[in-house]
């Protein structure tokens, strides 16, 4: 056990306690968990704090467009052998301030399992000298304010070149492979990626990628899918020795089985065998409200977060089949991205046969989208009205970021 044996400098200690005080004030004022404001105060007092806090820990970073919060939880559980030995930004505060606050949270920790916003991965990876970095996927997300998807991959590639960390990367996402292949030490995981529309163009030379079956390769420069040593196969993890380990999760869907596969590969790098890692992952239920099932008005509402086309695609594949009713909610506030054009990248025709209610600030965008998809729907003013229009039983409620927060509040989650 390494633990936090080396004492922090007086300045770092002051920064941590000032950060905690600010967080406590923020919490008392009812402004959320306080982790971001606390981290901001601490970082201001000691800009090197992130590096100093991480110096005591074996750090794992997790980044992706989708699945980073859940995977961070899965890895944290897989590594946890004692109650206090993992610190993590479990609530998804994934920029430097939130990360600082999370790392300052535990003094007996041995591991820091940290979700990192895609744009900050290179910076955080430089500051905290991670032992491992898990890269899950990259796809279009909030294009009105975020960097272009391919540019993000390029930035990862430059930031990770020369890193000593073990990179655990998805072999099925060409952008992730491009980003990871500048590193010396990569474990490739066949984790799958249903969404393919951001990677038809070779990240290396711009040629058109050919995609026969699960393989992919550039017809021009030869950039191709690396041979994976870990794989998701149905509901089993295949390890590098060819052994198959059953995945038992309380979280639904193929995407979460993929997250579990990557998490098992990360855990193995720290000496945790796949069987142990997967058994520990079973403890993970809802992650920040995602996948929670809430009883409301005599119905069971399952809360599903989907923020971008790739996320919606994975979510459609996990919902109950028709006639399960579906509520869709979309907002376009700052945190969601103010451009709703991505709705047209989502194949809503797949919802045919489900009774559908649409809500949210941008329910009219959804209405036109569904009209053009030729799918029946009802437009409702509130979540309560939408739930009332559904028959008793399970309802699948899919919402993007701020719409999801609104939905949680509306159903009392």
């Amino acid at each position: 056990m390494s633990g936090n044996s080396e004492p922090l400098s007086p300045r770092a200690k002051l920064a941590v306690s000032a950060g905690r005080a600010a967080a406590a004030v923020s919490r008392a004022a009812g402004r959320g968990s306080g982790s971001v404001i606390g981290g901001r105060v601490a970082l201001k007092l000691d800009p090197d704090l992130l590096a100093r806090l991480a110096g005591h820990l074996d750090v794992v970073l997790v980044s992706a467009t989708n699945g980073k919060t859940t995977t961070t939880r899965l890895i944290a559980e897989a590594l946890r052998s004692e109650p206090d030995d993992v610190v993590s930004n479990a609530l998804g505060a994934n920029m430097p301030a939130g990360i600082t606050s999370a790392l300052a949270g535990g003094s007996r920790a041995r591991y820091g399992v940290i979700e990192v916003d895609e744009k900050y991965l290179s910076t955080v990876a430089r500051d905290v000298t991670p032992k491992a970095i898990a890269l899950l996927n990259l796809s279009r997300d909030q294009l009105d304010r975020a960097a272009e998807t391919r540019m993000l991959a390029e930035r990862w590639r430059e930031g990770l070149a020369g890193t000593k960390a073990l990179i655990v990367a998805n072999a099925d996402d060409p952008l992730v492979v491009w980003a990871a292949s500048s590193s010396a030490n990569v474990v490739w995981v066949a984790a799958g990626q249903e969404w393919k529309d951001d990677a038809w163009s070779c990240p290396s030379c711009g040629g058109v990628l050919q995609r026969p079956g699960d393989e992919w390769a550039c017809g021009e420069c030869g950039f191709r899918r690396p041979t994976p040593s870990w794989a998701l196969s149905g509901d089993h993890v295949l390890d590098p020795h060819g052994s198959a380990w059953p995945i038992r999760l309380q979280l639904p869907g193929r995407a979460n089985r993929a997250n579990a596969t990557t998490s098992a590969a990360v855990a193995a790098a720290f000496g945790v065998p796949p069987q142990t890692a997967l058994e520990r992952m079973f403890a993970v239920t809802a992650v920040a409200g995602r996948y929670d099932v809430v009883s409301y008005q005599g119905r069971e509402v399952r809360l599903l977060l989907a923020k971008n086309p790739a996320g919606w695609l994975e979510t459609f594949s996990l919902i109950d089949p028709p006639p399960a009713p579906v509520i869709l909610s979309v907002n376009a506030r700052g945190a969601d991205g103010t451009d709703t054009s991505w709705l047209w990248d989502v194949d809503y025709g797949r919802l045919a046969g489900h009774p559908i209610c649409v809500i949210g600030d941008r329910r009219l965008d959804l209405a036109v989208r569904l009209e053009v998809a030729g799918v029946d729907f009802q437009v409702c003013q509130t979540a309560e009205e939408a739930v009332r229009r559904c028959p008793p039983g399970r309802i699948e409620a899919i919402a993007n970021y701020t719409a999801f927060q609104d939905l949680r509040r509306a159903v009392g989650n």
Partner: protein
């Protein structure tokens, strides 16, 4: 129109499909289908030849490098110019709009030739990126209601004498030239900076493309209730900038 079905060609979705551009293809197809037309949708990847016998060609927006690659491949292919010579209708958005002009500035900062199908020339703006809801009055010759859309670009597009502005902006930036113009058109080729996607926000432009392709003056009416509701909401939003 060739054969019995309307041939709708989506040009290079592998490179130019970034801001929901598929929506324009879906709206044209849906509204044609609602008028009893058979629609043959042809998605052409950038390693395939562009067919020359399509009726309506749709080209979307894209990031900077894909725009360069798309222009190189379209110029080399030549199919789209031949289709326009054959009388095809072309509707283009953002990066696709710039590619249809004489030239644009690519990701390497170089002036790159386009297809010359629209009398426009594009350069890269140096100011802030134009992002947000737009409201504009359509060119009176088109007899269409106001244009509503969402723009996200840094390009500036200057119109030559044989291109007409598609619209005049009331709110937003459009062509970014400071003279209030947005988009461009000649008889059969259209360009705009509007995402949204623009035909979902402006279904009567989709109908215009259908009428031009079919060479008819009118189409049977369809239920535009939800389009109208969305338009009213977005027009109100554009007039109250955040």
């Amino acid at each position: 129109m060739s054969d019995s079905s309307l041939r709708v060609v989506w040009v290079y979705p592998d490179l130019l499909s970034t801001y929901g551009d598929q929506g324009n293809v879906l709206v044209v197809g849906r509204r044609a289908h609602q008028r009893g037309l058979n629609v043959d949708r042809i998605d052409v990847r950038s390693d395939q030849p562009v067919p020359t016998s399509g009726d309506i060609y749709l080209i979307g927006g894209g990031e900077d490098r894909p725009q360069r690659l798309a222009a190189e491949r379209l110029v080399r292919d030549g199919g789209l110019q031949r289709a326009v010579d054959n009388g095809a209708i072309v509707f283009s958005v953002c990066a696709g709009y710039q590619i249809l002009g004489h030239e644009f500035v690519n990701d390497q900062g170089e002036r790159q030739p386009g297809l010359g199908l629209l009398d426009v020339t594009s350069v890269r703006g140096t100011g802030v990126r134009c992002v947000g809801d737009v409201l504009a009055d359509m060119d009176e010759h088109l007899r269409l209601p106001q244009l509503t859309g969402f723009e996200n670009h840094q390009g500036i597009t200057h119109l030559g004498p044989t291109a007409r502005p598609l619209a005049r902006v009331r709110f937003g930036n459009g062509n970014g030239t400071g003279d209030g113009t947005e988009g461009a058109w000649n008889d059969t080729v259209f360009g705009t900076y509007m995402h949204g996607p623009v035909l979902a926000r402006n279904p009567l432009i989709a109908d215009l493309l259908l009428k031009l392709a079919l060479d008819v003056n009118a189409l049977p009416p369809v239920d535009d209730r939800w389009y109208e509701a969305l338009r009213a909401e977005r027009i109100a939003a554009a007039t109250q900038p955040a």
